[in-house]
C-alpha cells in the first residue's frame, strides 16, 4: 500500500517537557486510524506537527514525501479541538472562505450535509448551539477531498446522538485513497469504525496494528486492551 505519512525519529519538546520522543510511524492511504492514548500522551502534539502549526525539535515528518508547508496544507484537512470560526460569520461566509482557500473543497457536498441538519446558508454561527457549531466545523473539514483528515478528539464531550452523527459523517465521506486519523481516549465509541489503532503514551508509540488483528490475537476488544495497557 501507498505511504501517505511518515515520521522518522520525530521528537517535540516544550522547554524541558518531552511531548514526543523519537517516534517512528508510517501511515498508509485508505485507512481509518485511531490515535489512541490518555490525555497528555502526545496525540495533539503529533497532529499539530502534521498540520505544520508546530515544528519538530528533531527528526522529520513527511506527508506525500514533503515536510509540512503550503503544499502539505493543501492535502491535509484538520479539525482541531477548538471552534475557530467567528461568531458573526454566516454559514455562507464560511463556505466561501473554504472554497476560496481550498481547491479541493466541495461546496455541494457541504451544503447537502448542512441541509440534512436543517442548517441554512444564511444562518449565523452566533445563533447556533455549541454542538451545532462543532458539526458545522466537522462538515467543512470533511467536505474537502483531502488526502489526510486529522480529527482531534471529535467525540470528546458530545452526546451519543452527536457521536453517531460524527461517525456516520466519517464513514460516508470515506474514500479509498484518503486516510482519516482520529485522536481520542474514548475507544469503545469508535472501535467499530477503525481499521487500525495506534497506542501512544508518554510521547511514545506503544503499539500499532489493525483492530481485527488485535482482536484475533488478544481475544478481546481494542478498548479492553487499551484499559489494560494504560491502567493507572
Amino acid at each position: 500500500m501507498e505511504t501517505l505519512m511518515e515520521c522518522r525519529q520525530l521528537s517535540k519538546h516544550y522547554g524541558n517537557k518531552i511531548a514526543l520522543d523519537h517516534i517512528n510511524l508510517t501511515i498508509e492511504r485508505g485507512r481509518i486510524i485511531g490515535l489512541l492514548g490518555p490525555n497528555g500522551s502526545g496525540k495533539t502534539t503529533l497532529i499539530k506537527l502534521i498540520n505544520g502549526i508546530l515544528t519538530p525539535t528533531s527528526g522529520c515528518l513527511y506527508i506525500n514525501g514533503q515536510i509540512p508547508g503550503v503544499e502539505t496544507k493543501k492535502a491535509v484537512s484538520y479539525l482541531p479541538e477548538r471552534t475557530y470560526f467567528n461568531s458573526w460569520m454566516k454559514v455562507t461566509d464560511i463556505l466561501h472562505f473554504f472554497s476560496d482557500f481550498y481547491v479541493d473543497f466541495d461546496s455541494r457536498r457541504a451544503l447537502e450535509m448542512l441541509h440534512r441538519l436543517n442548517i441554512n446558508e444564511s444562518d449565523r454561527l452566533r445563533t447556533m448551539s455549541k454542538g451545532t457549531k462543532e458539526k458545522v466545523q466537522l462538515i467543512m473539514v470533511m467536505s474537502r477531498d483531502a488526502d489526510l483528515y486529522c480529527l482531534d478528539e471529535p467525540i470528546g464531550g458530545v452526546d451519543p446522538a452527536a457521536r453517531d452523527y460524527i461517525l456516520q459523517t466519517i464513514i460516508t465521506n470515506y474514500r479509498e485513497n484518503a486516510t482519516v486519523l482520529i485522536s481520542t481516549h474514548l475507544i469503545s465509541d469508535i472501535e467499530n469504525v477503525l481499521d487500525d489503532a495506534i497506542f501512544i503514551q508518554g510521547g511514545r508509540i506503544m503499539l500499532t496494528g489493525s483492530v481485527d488483528d488485535i482482536r484475533m490475537r488478544e481475544g478481546k476488544s481494542v478498548d479492553a486492551l487499551f484499559r489494560e495497557v494504560f491502567r493507572c
Binding site: I32, Y174, D195, D212, D213
Partner: protein, 126 residues
C-alpha cells in the same frame, strides 16, 4: 441502527455471520442484489474496509458472488443456502446436546424432554 457486535471476536467475522444469518433467515433471497459496501457499512456503523473484508469472506464460502459491473449478489444456488441452513441447524443442536450432556442427561432423556416441551408449547398455542 448499528448492528450489535460483541467485543471479543474480530469485527469482520461478526459482520460475515450477521449477513450469513440474514441470508439463511430469508432477509435476502437467492439472486437478490446486496446493498453497496458503503451502504452496508453505514447501516452497521462500521468501517467500509471491514465490511469489504466480511464480504470477501462470504464470497469465499460461495454464499455471495460478485458481478464485476453491477455489484454483489446472493448465490442463486438455493441448495447451497439450504445446506448452509442445515449445517447451522446441526451446529446449534450439537451445541445444545453438549450443554445438556454437561448437565448429566442421557440422550434418551434429552429426547423425552424435547417431546414434552414441544407438547407443552403446542398446548399454549391453542
Amino acid at each position: 441502527m448499528a448492528w450489535v457486535l460483541d467485543d471479543s471476536r474480530p469485527i469482520y467475522l461478526q459482520l460475515a455471520n450477521k449477513i450469513q444469518s440474514d441470508i439463511i433467515s430469508g432477509v435476502y433471497r437467492p439472486g437478490d442484489k446486496l446493498p453497496s459496501v458503503r451502504d452496508l457499512a453505514m447501516d452497521a456503523a462500521v468501517n467500509p474496509n471491514t465490511m469489504q473484508k466480511a464480504l470477501i469472506e462470504l464470497e469465499r464460502s460461495g454464499l455471495i458472488y460478485t458481478q464485476r459491473t453491477s455489484g454483489r449478489f446472493i448465490s442463486e444456488d438455493a441448495q447451497k443456502v439450504t445446506i448452509m441452513k442445515e449445517n447451522l441447524a446441526k451446529e446449534q443442536i450439537r451445541l445444545f446436546l453438549s450443554n445438556m450432556q454437561q448437565l448429566g442427561f442421557e440422550n434418551q432423556e434429552i429426547l423425552h424432554f424435547m417431546e414434552e416441551t414441544l407438547k407443552e408449547e403446542r398446548r399454549w398455542k391453542h
